[in-house]
Point group: C2
Chain length 339, copies 2
């Protein structure tokens, strides 16, 4: 799968995101300069070339692959995929499917990236749609929470799949030997929670994972477990509530500190506290899970530095080889649980 020179190849959607293509190309060029991966910029050739011309890219491992059209945030993903079969996110993902790239990276619409990954790469055993997750709480930067995306009304088998994905992630990305896996629920005692949680508990107890029971949300915020599993409805609320509290806190804190210290000091304190509720921006993006390939989705507002970091996440994802591992373990667990 790697380039002739042995380097990992990463397709970067040059058209996706608020600051495309300028910041995307800039971040990609910076990454190419590091010399650890071959970059394929996917986008409108003229637009990308005119951005590339701003840099001295002679001899750098960076090239362009043409695409036609962009899927914007807010477009219904499935429809847009049919209407724009050559959109940058589709072409990037297809490069991965065809093994012409090892991973794709986009700052564009998360919905479009998920739809493209599902359709082009396919989803893993026991997963219905791509899974979004990561260490989304700044107060718990080493707790993988999933799903935080669009999987609602999950069946217990799906939640078990998320547990497997989180377990592999924590072992491969964080080098944990035996991650503590828990279900987000309303009571710590096993058996508490709603029907979905109780049924999933039964499966997880037989799974062979290091299942430690339920985690309540106040302990979740403190990083009490390594992998926290939930329905996408709950995960999305956890993520957005954290964001909302963070913004309100930030505003109040800046007001409150007025006159007590210099503007520069206020900025520094506020930035420190804001990190507690804003991990996504810190890490520059995370991989989609449960799909047969590596796709990293970053924040739409990403600047070149965030693009660089997202490419770095993609390279690490390829290097760790977690995708084939997840697929193996999902096959194994669903066979074990008799499906």
């Amino acid at each position: 799968m790697t380039a002739e020179n042995g380097m990992v190849k990463i397709a970067v959607d040059a058209m996706g995101g608020d600051n495309a293509p300028a910041e995307i190309v800039k971040g990609a060029v910076e990454f190419a300069r590091a010399g650890t991966a071959q970059i394929i910029l996917v986008g409108d050739p003229d637009a990308v070339q005119s951005e590339l011309a701003k840099f001295d890219v002679d001899g750098l491992p960076i090239g362009v692959d043409p695409s036609d059209g962009v899927i914007r945030e807010g477009e219904p993903p499935a429809l847009a995929l049919r209407q724009k079969p050559k959109a940058s996110i589709v072409v990037s993902t297809r490069l991965v499917k065809r093994e012409q790239a090892d991973a794709s990276v986009t700052m564009g619409s998360t919905g479009a990236a998920m739809a493209a990954a599902a359709v082009v790469l396919g989803v893993a055993k026991g997963v219905e749609r791509p899974v979004l997750g990561g260490p989304i709480l700044g107060t718990a930067p080493r707790t993988m929470i999933l799903d935080v995306g669009s999987n609602v009304d999950c069946k217990p088998q799906q939640l078990v799949s998320y547990a497997v994905i989180g377990d592999v992630f924590a072992r491969y990305f964080w080098n944990l030997e035996r991650p503590r896996v828990a279900l987000i629920s309303v009571g710590a005692e096993i058996g508490k929670g709603n029907r979905q949680i109780r049924e999933t508990t039964e499966l997880l107890e037989k799974s062979g994972l290091n299942f430690v029971g339920n985690v309540e949300a106040h302990k979740l915020a403190k990083g009490a477990v390594d992998v926290a599993v939930c329905d996408g409805f709950v995960g999305n609320i956890v993520m957005k509530l954290t964001e909302g509290i963070g913004e309100a806190t930030d505003e109040r804190l800046r007001d409150r500190l007025q006159g007590t210290m210099s503007a520069e000091e206020i900025e520094s304190v506020a930035a420190d506290i804001h990190q507690l509720t804003n991990v996504v921006e810190m890490t520059g993006g995370g991989p989609l899970f449960g799909v047969n390939g590596v796709t990293v989705v970053g924040h739409g507002s990403a600047n070149a530095t965030a693009v660089y970091r997202a490419i770095e996440v993609a390279k690490r994802a390829v290097d760790t080889g977690y995708v084939p591992r997840i697929n193996q373990e999902l096959e194994a667990i669903h066979a074990k649980l008799g499906e």
Copy 2:
């Protein structure tokens, strides 16, 4: 229902809470001094009298009603209720049922208070268990969120009942004319969310309430609506996550401010910011909803000041007459929706 002298009568569980009976009696005596309500302290007569003896209560509208036993936090409520039929929370609630008191107040086990209210007072039409709710987010102190308690796997009809309760609360306690009612969900568009949300949406659109659709959690945190309705599973996670983020933020903020200002100033800033995530302690407790009477449950760690405030909430609840109003409106809406 009021005392011979026309005063509202409030039964106060003198035995419930971490600081019972000392702080409970102290807060109750202070309230009696205000002279706006008759207080009935319910508890072990010797223990309560020996606390009362510390104050000059001559001529104050305060008396004692004997009880035997206390239900502690963590005891299984239903079982405890059978084993301790004369426990202070049961006796307090029974005074309300018998119209010997207009309201009861406890700092004891929330589960026990809910069980006592359900069994002794009974629940309203369209409600299966007592409902917990209130302006639980400090970032949104004028958004009533319910259920945040033990109602999980709610049927759409139950969520409609919570909407009615929240609507009456917002009108009677906050004097809003036409509260904006929304469902907590993962997308603002009507129709987004899980099955429960989509089914409830259909009912709320026919309800006659000022239903404004879905509210996402980041907007919830900013007070975008007046009444936010959710399954107790989601509400409890919203409440506890807020608490957890608040505690982590508080800790980091105090650390970060070390050396930049005086200890006193740090305390003041931290307290201000902590309020954003800690409304329950500010208000001293809230009423249980969906039961045929007024029961106010405060924080277990309440001191005399918090007890005073909880009694104040109970008096206000009686004065507004919201309970009979909720019952009427629940009857009407469930008749309208054809149940």
